[in-house]
């Protein structure tokens, strides 16, 4: 991505890409807001965490606290650092306070319990993966959200979905940098035995997913899911944009995919 926030287009033009559609061998996905909706979970977990910090730091001015909290969160997310304890430590530091580490870790556990309890798959996700699985290699690259261990990633809550993935890569841990760094994309492609140009990457985040995949040489698809309650960055792009996962089958990129009978889960 360039300094002005625009994606660097080092790859081929979309027409050429489409012409190469018959070469696509793998479809890779992001997880949060792509296959599953965790937005409510994150919103609730954040709200609870803010209350805990505000109470424990013994402050009076809530709005000032929230302003600072959001600023720190933005800075951390900008660096693809999603570790909640690290972020909370910084909020304490700003207020010249030293947190109780044991407390931070218990809050972290509670945070992820809230997120997990409120994470639901998009209704068409399972059906789409099942259909794509007949022709493509399917994989998942997701950034750690700062959970204590990769085993705790939310994908493990959905065994029915997990079975479709030949590779599940949690970036941001075990020495693999988080997306948008090209490393996780390359490692996943290597494990699949597929070249970058032969892979499509579907994700919701412009900077992390779309620009990250494009810069790693993959064919990005930007999913702005219709049921996700969020704001999208205002950018002009020739990257295919879809609003539901089953719209993937309408893309030239995946021409030749058998017309699927999508099963919608509840």
């Amino acid at each position: 991505m360039t300094a002005d926030g625009r994606c660097r287009f080092s790859g081929l033009h979309s027409e050429i890409r489409e012409a190469m559609s018959n070469t696509i061998k793998a479809v890779l996905f992001d997880f949060g807001q792509t296959l599953a909706d965790s937005a409510d979970g994150f919103r609730q977990a954040e709200k609870e965490a803010q209350e805990k910090l505000f109470g424990h730091m013994a402050l009076s001015l809530k709005e000032k606290f929230l302003e600072r909290y959001r600023q720190v969160r933005k800075e951390f997310h900008g660096r693809s650092n999603f570790s909640r304890p690290a972020m909370w430590r910084e909020v304490y530091h700003y207020h010249c306070l030293v947190p109780d580490e044991a407390l931070l870790h218990s809050w972290e556990t509670e945070y992820w319990n809230t997120v997990r309890a409120r994470t639901i798959l998009f209704p068409e996700a399972t059906g789409v993966l099942k259909a794509l699985n007949t022709r493509f290699k399917i994989a998942l690259i997701t950034n750690t959200q700062g959970q204590p261990a990769s085993a705790a990633h939310r994908i493990s809550e959905f065994p029915a979905l997990e079975k479709f993935f030949r590779v599940i890569l949690v970036a941001g841990e075990n020495g693999i940098p988080p997306k948008p760094d090209p490393t996780p994309f390359r490692k996943c492609l290597e494990a699949l035995g597929v070249a970058a140009a032969e892979a499509v990457y579907v994700g919701d985040d412009w900077r992390i997913d779309v620009c990250g995949a494009r810069n790693a040489g993959l064919n990005p698809v930007w999913l702005k899911h219709e049921s996700a309650k969020r704001n999208w960055p205002d950018v002009n792009t020739d990257v295919p944009v879809i609003t539901r996962l089953d719209h993937l089958f309408g893309l030239n990129l995946l021409q030749g995919t058998p017309s699927p009978t999508i099963e919608f889960s509840a």
Binding site: M57, A58, S60, E75, R89, E90, Y94, C96
Partner: protein, 463 residues
């Protein structure tokens, strides 16, 4: 990459390697150049305004004055001091003492004095031919960064290596820790909690402790109103952001009522028992953590936040001291224009109380006394576990240097081993030097038993 700590250290080291052999005259020119820049009114205005605007704490006018005083005072304290090469010679012992710099110093700066702390430490590290990298507080990083930028401009003007002064632009706790572990020495000005963090970095360090100044006023004071005025001016300076700010007054019973009236005349508002409880709940909402939203704010703001109606002219709030320790937080550090009032009739008994107060908060820092009795001054100095006893002066105007006091100028007050620090002194150039002693042979002298044990042997015998 912005704020790459390794890269910053490498640049600082390179600048240091060039600077470490500069002669005294050139070094003195360097500190004068940087000091001249920092004391300029236009520069101070920018720094003070930025600090107040970004942090929302402190008083612009007080900061404006403080930056000047600290800069000029630090220069004054180091004027004519030898910090390069041969600095001392003891011919009788055949010893020559050579001053050497340390290297790259990490300077962790607080949000209460984000500019003047840099002026004091920066001039001290430059005087001793060291390089300095500042880790600002996140709340005041712009003003700290600007302070260093002005210092760099002054270095550039006279052809000195600009990387002798650097500052992290977008700070974080992680970067501060990285910086401290990379540098050769750390100096950290901040609360007591910082001490552990600094030493955890594993480098030699100068740290500080919490202040909780108790100021005695006894019956020998000739002009109570003048003393009340000194205390008020000191108490409200920069909204009591300074760790040297009076946190309590201990008034002799015979002048108690009169002194309270004098303090009221100077803008003090004495809280009733009910108001005290309301204020306590606002200042320590959970009963133990000082509310950061009241720190270094003015008395009216705090009173409004607590819901206490006070006159518009109120400059500081007063509460009666009740208990000492956790059960009454008013006995500890408040970093706000709130003054606890104690009453005593037996000086020795009050000394016992002060010992307990300092044990709870402020050990190693300082105390203050207004008296005409030198015996009491000495008694206080001998009893109190503090680095400084300030007599007959407003505490903030003297404790860390002042034109009417002899204590060295600084914003970094060592509180000794009492507070887990390596020094109980006012940190200035003295703390940033290594020494190499050159020893020449002298006429051998092996002391006799008489010389070493004479008095003991006369009294107790040889058995």
């Amino acid at each position: 990459m912005e704020d790459d700590i390794k890269e910053m250290y490498t640049k600082a080291k390179k600048a240091f390697e060039e600077y470490q052999y500069w002669p005294q005259e050139k070094v003195d020119e360097v500190v004068q150049a940087v000091g001249w820049m920092w004391q300029k009114e236009a520069i101070r205005k920018v720094l003070a305004r930025t600090a107040v605007d970004e942090s929302g704490i402190g008083v612009y006018e007080d900061k404006l004055a403080k930056i000047k005083t600290k800069t000029l005072g630090t220069l004054w304290d180091q004027r004519g001091v030898k910090t390069c090469d041969l600095v001392e010679e003891d011919k009788a012992r055949g010893i020559r003492k050579y001053a050497k710099p340390i290297g790259v110093i990490a300077d962790v700066v607080p949000c209460t004095n984000p500019e003047s702390t840099i002026c004091c430490i920066g001039l001290s590290t430059l005087k001793t031919r060291n390089a300095m990298i500042v880790s600002p507080h996140p709340r005041t990083q712009k003003s700290s960064y600007l302070t260093v930028e002005y210092g760099r401009e002054a270095l550039k003007k006279i052809g000195a290596p600009v990387d002798l002064l650097q500052c992290i632009k977008n700070t974080s706790q992680e970067k501060t820790q990285q910086l401290m572990s990379h540098c050769d020495f750390a100096v950290a000005t901040g609360g007591a909690a910082l001490v552990k963090v600094v030493y955890a970095a594993g480098k030699p360090a100068q740290t500080v402790g919490a202040g909780n100044v108790v100021s005695f006023v006894d019956e020998t004071v000739p002009d109570l109103q003048a003393t009340a005025r000194k205390i008020m001016l000191s108490k409200i300076a920069n909204n009591a952001a300074s760790c040297s700010s009076e946190n309590a007054v201990a008034l002799h019973a015979s002048i108690y009522d009169k002194m309270i009236e004098c303090l009221k005349k100077e803008g003090g508002y004495l809280c009733s028992t009910a108001e005290r409880e309301t204020l306590r709940k606002c200042m320590w909402p959970d009963g133990k953590t000082l509310n950061r939203d009241i720190v270094a704010h003015n008395a009216k703001f705090i009173a409004d936040l607590a819901g206490i109606k006070v006159p518009e002219t109120t400059k500081f709030l007063m509460v009666i001291g009740e208990k000492i320790g956790r059960e009454d937080r008013f006995s500890g550090e408040k970093i706000s224009p709130v003054l606890t009032v104690w009453k005593w009739s037996d000086f020795d008994e009050m000394l016992d109380r002060v010992e307990k107060i300092l044990e709870f908060s402020g050990k190693g820092h300082s105390v203050s006394i207004h008296t005409e009795s030198d015996e009491r001054r000495v008694k206080l100095a001998l009893r109190a576990k503090v680095g400084r006893v300030v007599c007959n002066m407003g505490h903030t105007a003297a404790n860390s240097g002042g034109w009417g006091a002899g204590l060295p100028f600084t914003d970094t007050l060592g509180c000794g081993t009492w507070a887990g620090n390596i020094s109980s002194e006012n940190v200035n150039w003295k703390q940033f030097l290594n020494y190499t002693l050159v020893s020449m042979p002298i006429k051998e002298h092996i002391p006799s038993d008489e010389e070493l044990f004479g008095d003991y042997l006369k009294k107790w015998g040889k058995d």
